[in-house]
Structures are given as structure tokens and as C-alpha cells.
């Protein structure tokens, strides 16, 4: 057992209102610079849709992530052989047009235009060339367009759906959408790290944040190819790649990352997960249908005395262990098994988990024109849901529909239980039956309800202290300095000649 600690996240998709506040918070802090304008370390997509960069999920084109090779895995489009032989020209690299050409407006024209018959306008200009352009795409141009030919129809997750199923999704009464906020997953098996020839990308041992050393990056641009989530970006101006830093300066000060802090829907949770690093390799090489389960098995129970002992053995601070015990992520992911990784088949073992959306996925209208909500109809209706299970499974469980169904049943059981408690218009047996089906008791249902709907700030964000008070000891032993003439003194206090 090699216990390490990892800052992990849960996004509750039922709560996301698609407001993009998270993206803006991030942009204002980190990527409002020349060369970084096009980067959205955090972005929000509409599903079904093509996302940003366009069709990023299609690894036949982008060649991101790992692929299974017998009992082992190898990088799909980079690595010691595949990557190094195409250093001179990376065959699988997205270009700016796959994202969009960033632009601003000539605002000064509004003030400086000569007097004339027409109202002055602020024309869009490219942030790369400075020329007038007509923007043709943007980071969220598929926003809310779940029925569109251009975006929704080209969603990569339809690949494994039958034509009839696809057809059905675009019937007017059935068209549905949900939002998918995305950011770097600070993976346990990061493809970006593995692909970087310079060794500029690394995972921090203490909290698992994945960072790019800007001084070591040499623009071999392999991480851009390798990250299957397309969350490593190339800055065309500096000639260095950049990615989400999980707001580590904020984390170290005990604050939640800006995207989390500002989230309007309060969909975001962040907390510590303890995991067994020895299991990473085997889990990443599991068969598709076991991927989710094997990944969840990597995370260990922070209340288990053996785990605690092993964690201490590895130098994990008591306060971090305590945070792991209170972690909302642990509850959603392990205790309740409600949250799933996005596209586990990319095999990077992402540390961002999503509670799949129940509504509007489930809701469908019955003959009377009202929403069907009773459990009897509900259970039977999973197959009939607006978004086919195959679609959800393609997003969150590498195609395993059972996993998705189990989660959805749990989510519905919580609702029926709460409805029975607060509105009281359901027979008790029905709520009880639903919970029994979903293998949960009243306490668990209430706990899920509370952390979903009424969590306090401190319950959503449980961030371990960085222990700056020990910073001196982190860098060097204080005993070294004993007998010196003062801190920060570089020369030994030896008498001059």
C-alpha cells in the first residue's frame, strides 16, 4: 500500500444552470493574456453537442489518452516512440481553428468615430492578427443548441447508438440537454505528464495537482495531443503549453479554486481522496466494463485504521487525513457511489467526478400531458428516458449501462423519499420500495439530500491546510541555521581575512 493524497472534485450536473460564471472567473484570473485568450481552462458545454475544441471526445481524430495493449497501456498519439518520431511535426495536434480564433471589439471606434449619418459600431478584430474578422465559432457556440444539425447531431457519443435511437433524440418533444462543465481532471494516470518529452509536466506529490513547469516546457506540444480532454493548451505567443493549475495558490491558502468558489449553481464540491498508488497501473489497464469499478477501488477508506497508519507512514499530515474523512467527494464517489468519472475509457483515471443528470434525462410526458413521476412508471421508464442510457453510458461509464442505471435509481429514490417526507402525496411504500431497489436506507437518502441541496460552504469545500507554518522545515532543517548570524544569510559566519 502506497497511500497518497489527492485533491478531487465532484460536479453535480442536475444543479448546473449553464451560466458560465465558472469559466469567466477562471478567465479573469488566469487566461486573460496574449496567447492565452483562446484558452478556457474551465469551459461549460451543452450535451448533446460537439464541445470545445470541436469534437474533442473523438480520439480517432485527436489520438488523446491511453489505449489498452494486452495487460498494459500505451499512449495513443504520443510517447517515447510515437511522439518522438513526430517531434518535427506533430501529426495529431489540434490547431487554433479547432478551438476558435479569439477576438475583441474595436470599442474605441464608438467614441472616436467621426460624426456621420450612421451609428458607430465596434467591429470585431482578431486577437491574433489584429485584423477585422467575422467570428464563426466560439468556445460555447453550441450553447443550448441540443437539437441543432451543426452541433448536437455531430456529438461523438452517438457513435454507439442505433439510428432509431439517434432519430428519437431529435424528435421535438424529446429534445433535451444538460450542461457539462469541464476542466483539467488532475488525473491519477495523466497522459499529459507521460507525453511530455522535457519532463516539464509533473504531478505534485502532496496534493496531486498537475502542473507545467514553464521554464522547462520546450513546445514539443505532445501534451496537447495526449490529453484526451484537451485541457492542456498551447500558448502561441510564449511558445509554452499551459493548463489549469487548480488555483493552487488559492488552495494553499485554504480557498477553493475560483471556478468552485464562484459557482452559481453550487454544483461543485472539492475534497481530499486518499488512494493507493500501487493500484494505478492495473486499474488503468482494466477492461472497459470494469474501468469505473477498478478506478473507484483505488480510493481507500480514510476511516480505516490500516489506511490511516499507512498514510501517516507516507508522511501525510493528520489534518489532511482528517479532511479526507470529511471529504464530500469521498461521500459522493465512494460511500454513495453517485458520481462517475467522465470518459473513463481514456484511462487517465480522472479525479473529477460527475453526478449524472437525472432530469431532464428522465422526465417524459405521458398521455395526459404531464410529467411521469411515479416510481412504478419510472423504473420501467429508464429505457424510455429522453436521453438513451447508451448515451449516458458513453459519457460516464465506458459504455456500461448498468452503472448508469444504478446511479439514476439512487437519485430518483432520494427524490421520491423527500417528496414523501415533505409533500406527502406518495404512498409510503412507494418511497420505501424505491429506496430498497436502490439499496439505500432513509439515513443515506437524507444525507444525500442534505449534501446535495443544503450544503454549507465548508461542507462543499473541505481543503486541507498547506501548513505554511512548517514551510521552513519543508525547505530545510531549522537546525541547519542554528548558530548562524541570521535567517537568509547565505555565507557561513566565518571571520574575514
Amino acid at each position: 500500500m502506497d497511500i497518497r493524497s489527492q485533491i478531487s472534485m465532484v460536479f453535480h450536473l442536475d444543479k448546473c444552470i449553464g451560466c458560465h460564471t465558472c469559466s469567466i472567473a477562471c478567465k479573469n484570473i488566469w487566461t486573460d493574456r496574449k496567447g492565452a485568450e483562446y484558452m478556457w481552462w474551465n469551459n461549460v458545454e451543452t450535451k448533446p453537442g460537439t464541445g470545445y475544441p470541436s469534437k474533442w471526445e473523438d480520439q480517432d481524430t485527436y489520438k488523446g489518452g491511453w489505449e489498452k495493449n494486452g495487460n498494459s497501456i500505451s499512449l495513443k498519439g504520443a510517447g517515447k516512440f510515437k511522439g518522438m518520431k513526430s517531434l518535427f511535426h506533430n501529426s495529431n495536434m489540434p490547431v487554433i481553428d479547432d478551438y476558435y480564433e479569439p477576438w475583441t471589439y474595436k470599442y474605441e471606434n464608438l467614441f472616436e468615430a467621426k460624426e456621420g449619418d450612421d451609428q458607430p459600431i465596434a467591429r470585431p478584430v482578431s486577437l491574433i492578427t489584429g485584423e477585422y474578422i467575422t467570428p464563426k465559432s466560439g468556445p460555447n457556440w453550441d450553447d443550448d443548441l441540443a437539437g441543432s444539425e451543426d452541433y448536437a447531431k455531430n456529438d461523438v457519443n452517438f457513435k454507439n447508438l442505433s439510428p432509431a435511437e439517434q432519430e428519437a433524440m431529435f424528435q421535438l418533444e424529446r429534445i433535451t440537454l444538460h450542461y457539462l462543465p469541464r476542466m483539467c481532471n488532475h488525473c491519477l494516470n495523466p497522459a499529459c505528464v507521460a507525453a511530455c518529452p522535457s519532463g516539464a509536466i509533473y504531478k505534485r506529490g502532496e496534493d496531486g495537482v498537475v502542473l507545467i513547469n514553464q521554464k522547462k516546457c520546450r513546445a514539443w506540444r505532445m501534451c496537447v495531443t495526449a490529453c484526451p480532454y484537451k485541457k492542456s493548451y498551447y500558448n502561441w505567443n510564449t511558445g509554452k503549453s499551459e493548463k489549469c493549475v487548480l488555483c493552487y495558490p488559492r488552495l494553499e491558502a485554504g480557498q477553493a479554486p475560483a471556478c468552485h468558489h464562484s459557482c452559481v449553481g453550487r454544483i461543485r464540491y472539492i475534497g481530499v481522496m486518499l488512494y493507493d498508488a500501487d493500484k494505478i497501473e492495473a486499474a488503468a489497464a482494466s477492461n472497459d466494463e470494469d474501468l469505473v469499478q477498478n478506478q473507484l477501488d483505488i480510493y481507500v477508506d480514510p476511516n480505516d485504521p490500516r489506511v490511516i497508519a499507512a498514510a501517516k507512514e507516507n508522511g501525510i499530515h493528520d489534518s489532511t487525513i482528517e479532511c479526507a474523512q470529511k471529504s464530500p467527494v469521498y461521500k459522493f464517489v465512494k460511500e454513495w457511489e453517485l458520481a462517475l468519472p467522465l470518459h473513463p475509457e481514456f484511462r487517465t483515471l480522472p479525479n473529477l467526478f460527475y453526478v449524472p443528470p437525472l432530469l431532464p434525462t428522465m422526465a417524459f410526458v405521458n398521455e395526459e400531458g404531464t410529467y411521469e413521476t411515479t416510481s412504478e412508471n419510472f423504473w420501467g421508464a429508464i429505457e424510455k428516458s429522453r436521453l438513451p442510457m447508451g448515451y449516458m453510458a458513453s459519457l460516464f461509464s465506458a459504455g456500461n449501462e448498468e452503472t448508469i442505471k444504478t446511479v439514476l435509481k439512487k437519485l430518483m429514490a432520494v427524490r421520491l423519499h423527500r417528496r414523501e417526507e415533505t409533500v406527502g402525496d406518495l404512498p409510503k411504500e412507494e418511497a420505501m420500495g424505491a429506496m430498497k431497489d436502490a439499496v439505500m436506507d432513509k439515513e443515506m437518502a437524507d444525507a444525500i439530500f442534505r449534501l446535495t441541496s443544503l450544503p454549507l460552504f465548508d461542507q462543499r469545500f473541505v481543503i486541507p491546510p498547506a501548513h505554511r507554518e512548517e514551510a521552513m522545515e519543508m525547505l530545510e532543517s531549522t537546525a541547519d541555521v542554528k548558530g548562524n548570524s541570521g535567517f537568509g544569510f547565505k555565507e557561513p559566519p566565518v571571520r574575514g581575512l
Binding site: I96, P190, A194
Partner: protein
């Protein structure tokens, strides 16, 4: 006089500048060392430019290196005329490939507004230098035959004398102008490495081949910090 300047002064100046300059740039301006890839702004034509250009140059570089390090083997190899021909033709091929690639690269850059935005004066200088270098090389290959036969006899001793700090330029001084241009431009190129994007091949990532794929950095060794017994001795953690 000018021979002394071009074949003794320039080489030593270039080598000193290379040594001191690249170390200083690496230590002080680490952020500025990058291949400055422009593939993100234009990816299609780069393929036809960058690949032939680089593969051509890489093979030519090693070709020159072998001729310098193992002159006797090269002469021995050339003792059979067919083998000489094979060597010369392939060298010419790599040269043409480099030239072809370079031309594509230059045209690509000149006609694309986005690329012009990321083109510095030094990039233009680099193009001119490389053009001179490659064209003079091709000229020599075609008109001053057979390079692989006289290089070991004339240039190897000259280069060796430079590195042994006992410069002997009698051989080079007698060479045709095209060869002289090739040599001068080569040393200029070497001297310019620290000031241009040429830095990128000095940082070729050899380590990647033998390091494990995953890379975890611990800021400090907490195990050591936690053991109070050792603290007295002043244990400095590995990473600092």
C-alpha cells in the same frame, strides 16, 4: 589576413560564444528556450516544410560528424566507387530535402498573417543563414566533387587543429570560395545559437527515453520532517 579572421578568429569566437552564451541563456533565461512551434497557428504546410527540413539537417549533421570523427573509415568506405556514389548521392538528397523544406517554411511564414505575428527579426536572420548554409553546401556537393573524399583529408585536419588549439589553415585557405562560404556560414550559425531559436536543439529531450512515463515531484520529504530524532542533525530534504 582575412583568412586568419575567418578561419581562426571566427571559429574561436563562435565556439566561445556558443559555450558561454548558451549556458548563460539556459541559466538565466530558461523561460525563453523553446522550439517556438508555430504548428498551432498553421499545421498542414508545416508538415511538408518541417519534416524534410529537419530530417535532412539531422542526417547531414551526423554525416559531417562522422567524417570529422572517423575520417579513415570514410576513406575506406569510399575505396569502392559505387559506395562513394551512394554516399554522395544520399548526402545530396538530404541537402535537397533540407532546402525544399526550408523554402516551404519560408513561403508558409511569409504568406500567413497569423505566422507573421509570431515571426521575429531573428527568425528572418535564421532563414537567411540557413539558406546560405544549405545552398553553399549543395553547391559544394555538386561542383567541388567528391566532398566525402576530400573532407577527411582537408577539413578534418583543419577542424582538429582548431579543437587542439593549434590552428592550421593552410588547407582551407586553398579551398574554392564556395567551401569557404560554407565554413564561414557554419561558424556564424554556431555562434548565433544562443541568440536565436537554434537553442531548441541543444535541449533535445534525451532523458525522455529512459525516464518512467509518470513524474511525481514531492516538494519536501515529509517522512524526514516527521522524525524528530533526525532533525538535530539537520537533514536536508532531497528536493531542495
Amino acid at each position: 589576413m582575412s583568412n586568419n579572421f575567418f578561419f581562426i578568429g571566427l571559429p574561436y569566437a563562435a565556439l566561445v560564444v556558443l559555450l558561454v552564451g548558451s549556458i548563460m541563456r539556459y541559466m538565466n533565461l530558461g523561460f525563453k528556450i523553446s522550439s517556438l512551434s508555430s504548428q498551432f497557428l498553421e499545421g498542414k504546410e508545416l508538415f511538408y516544410g518541417s519534416r524534410p527540413f529537419h530530417w535532412g539537417l539531422v542526417f547531414l549533421f551526423f554525416g559531417h560528424l562522422v567524417a570529422f570523427l572517423f575520417p579513415r573509415s570514410v576513406i575506406a568506405w569510399n575505396s569502392v566507387p559505387v559506395r562513394l556514389l551512394i554516399l554522395e548521392v544520399s548526402a545530396l538528397g538530404f541537402g535537397l530535402s533540407a532546402l525544399f523544406g526550408l523554402l516551404i517554411l519560408v513561403v508558409r511564414r511569409a504568406k500567413n498573417r497569423r505566422l507573421i505575428m509570431v515571426t521575429s527579426k531573428m527568425d528572418v536572420f535564421v532563414y537567411v543563414l540557413l539558406f546560405t548554409q544549405i545552398v553553399s553546401g549543395l553547391w559544394v556537393a555538386y561542383f567541388v566533387r567528391w566532398g566525402s573524399a576530400w573532407f577527411p583529408a582537408v577539413l578534418t585536419p583543419y577542424l582538429k587543429s582548431i579543437f587542439l588549439f593549434d590552428p592550421d589553415i593552410a588547407g582551407v585557405a586553398a579551398m574554392p570560395l564556395s567551401v569557404k562560404i560554407h565554413i564561414v556560414s557554419a561558424f556564424t550559425l554556431i555562434g548565433m545559437i544562443p541568440f536565436t531559436r537554434f537553442m531548441h536543439f541543444l535541449v533535445y529531450p534525451f532523458r525522455y527515453f529512459y525516464r518512467p512515463y509518470q513524474y511525481v515531484i514531492w516538494n519536501w520529504d515529509r517522512k524526514k520532517i516527521r522524525s524528530s530524532r533526525k532533525l538535530v542533525n539537520g537533514v536536508r530534504s532531497k528536493n531542495n
